[in-house]
Amino acid sequence: MSFEMDREALKPLIEALIFAADRPISIEKLMNILEGEGREDVRASIAELMKEYNETNRGIVISEVAGGYQMRTRPEFVQWLRRLFNFRFSRLSKAAMEALAIVAYKQPLTRVELEDIRGVDCGGVLRTLLEKSLIKVIGRKDLPGRPSVYGTTREFLEAFDLKNLSYLPDLRDIEESESDAVREATEDYRQSRNNLEEEGGGADPAGQGNGEQGCGDPTGSKDRS
């Protein structure tokens, strides 16, 4: 059918489609199914539907995730839902989680590049992440051996509640301060070496740094988290 429906007719239809879809459904896909409906109408209907779901007393919300829309349970009900599944949920080991974070933030990257950062063999975790479809091979690098290059998947976005990769949480602004701090520390080191030569003493180089990443107080009076 290609006649236009009004918003009130569109909403329940979109609701049914979002419910039945086995993964987050995009506006494009919806428009495809709803042939003839304009993008703006579809978008506005979704917005109204989301408002109804998210702002009224329901157990389900409509989330925007992985480039589409999906019905998900309200986070407040997590403990009951876990009982529903007998407290079963799969989780990633620390090593797998860290490897995944590196792939997510640095993609595209090769196994060797990943291992350079982690400092340890990553064959096992890569296999796991591939099996779970959290990462995939997105190409090959033009180097001897044509190594595989990895990136994250839509499933990754779905699993971690991300609309798209630009929604990855910021890495604590270390990026900006990092090079400054290292440069500062190096400057201080050279400075104190010069001072030592002048004084002829034997004190340790001072080295300031901005201490953001350090656990702080070397006298040990801070709490360890």
């Binding site: 090593a95 950062i117 699993a159 990443q213």
Partner: protein, 253 residues
């Protein structure tokens, strides 16, 4: 009997360094290289004495640390220009550590989001109750475990020597014994697995058994604020009848 558990399946030398930096509460931008190197080497020795198979990367890092330390101690009558060019010998290592730490923190941030299948659910989801990936450690490092082991070892009655081959218990025996204990009590603190008069040899064998079980993902290990490390053996799926009839230990997110 020569029993070796591979350590690198868990973590690498960078993780150990970050662990030491955190434990010493020192500034990552200004690592006291002598102290850290000393502790790092002590750790390597302890790990070797536990009969854990240590990856080459750990030894490579040991060599790197020793090299950096020696450069820091170079005599001061060096040409000033040379000193300028060299810069801080720790710089390269610090950069690598900072970068790695950045992503480790990123991993923690990601893991703290509303995860599908753990915090929010969709229609038709079937959670599997698995730890995906290397070993059964979710929120603590194998070095935290080794720390806990050191503490237990320190309190133990001194043996003449730490001779594992003379041990009455084999690791296999201990694995079976541990599984029996955990089947009964489900959830135990790490310390409760050792009594006051357990010999050092037996402590080490118990520890190797724990590591092996963690590797096989037969047990889960958690960090608990009050009592430290807890060990928990998940039930078999067939045992589940009705969730309201079973009590569960608190799960970490």
């Amino acid at each position: 009997m020569d029993y070796k558990v591979k350590l690198e399946i868990f973590e690498g030398p960078m993780d150990l360094l970050l662990h030491l930096i955190k434990r010493n509460e020192v500034d990552i931008y200004d690592i006291p290289i002598a102290t850290i190197t000393e502790q790092y080497l002590e750790y390597i020795e302890l790990i070797k004495s536990l009969n854990l198979d240590i990856a080459g990367e750990f030894l490579l890092m040991a060599a790197t640390l020793i090299h950096i330390k020696s450069k820091m101690l170079l005599p001061l009558n060096e040409e000033p220009e040379e000193a300028e060019d060299e810069g801080d010998p720790r710089e390269e290592l610090i950069k690598r550590l900072i970068e790695y730490k950045k992503y480790k923190d990123g991993a923690i941030q990601l893991a703290g989001r509303r995860l599908l299948g753990r915090d929010v659910f969709i229609r038709g989801i079937v959670p599997t109750d698995e730890i995906e990936g290397e070993g059964g450690l979710v929120d603590l490092s194998v070095f935290d475990l080794i720390e806990a082991l050191r503490e237990v070892l320190e309190k133990a009655p001194s043996d003449i020597s730490l001779n594992l081959s003379a041990e009455k218990f084999t690791v296999i025996d201990k694995i079976n014994r541990l599984m029996e204990v955990l089947r009964d009590i489900k959830n135990a603190t790490f310390n409760s697995l050792f009594s006051n008069d357990t010999t050092k040899g037996e402590i080490v064998v118990t520890f190797l058994a724990i590591l092996e079980l963690v590797k096989m993902k037969m047990i889960r290990i958690y960090q608990s604020e009050d009592v430290g490390i807890r060990i928990y053996m998940p039930d078999k799926p067939e045992d589940e009848v009705d969730s309201s009839t079973t009590t569960k230990p608190e799960e970490h997110g």
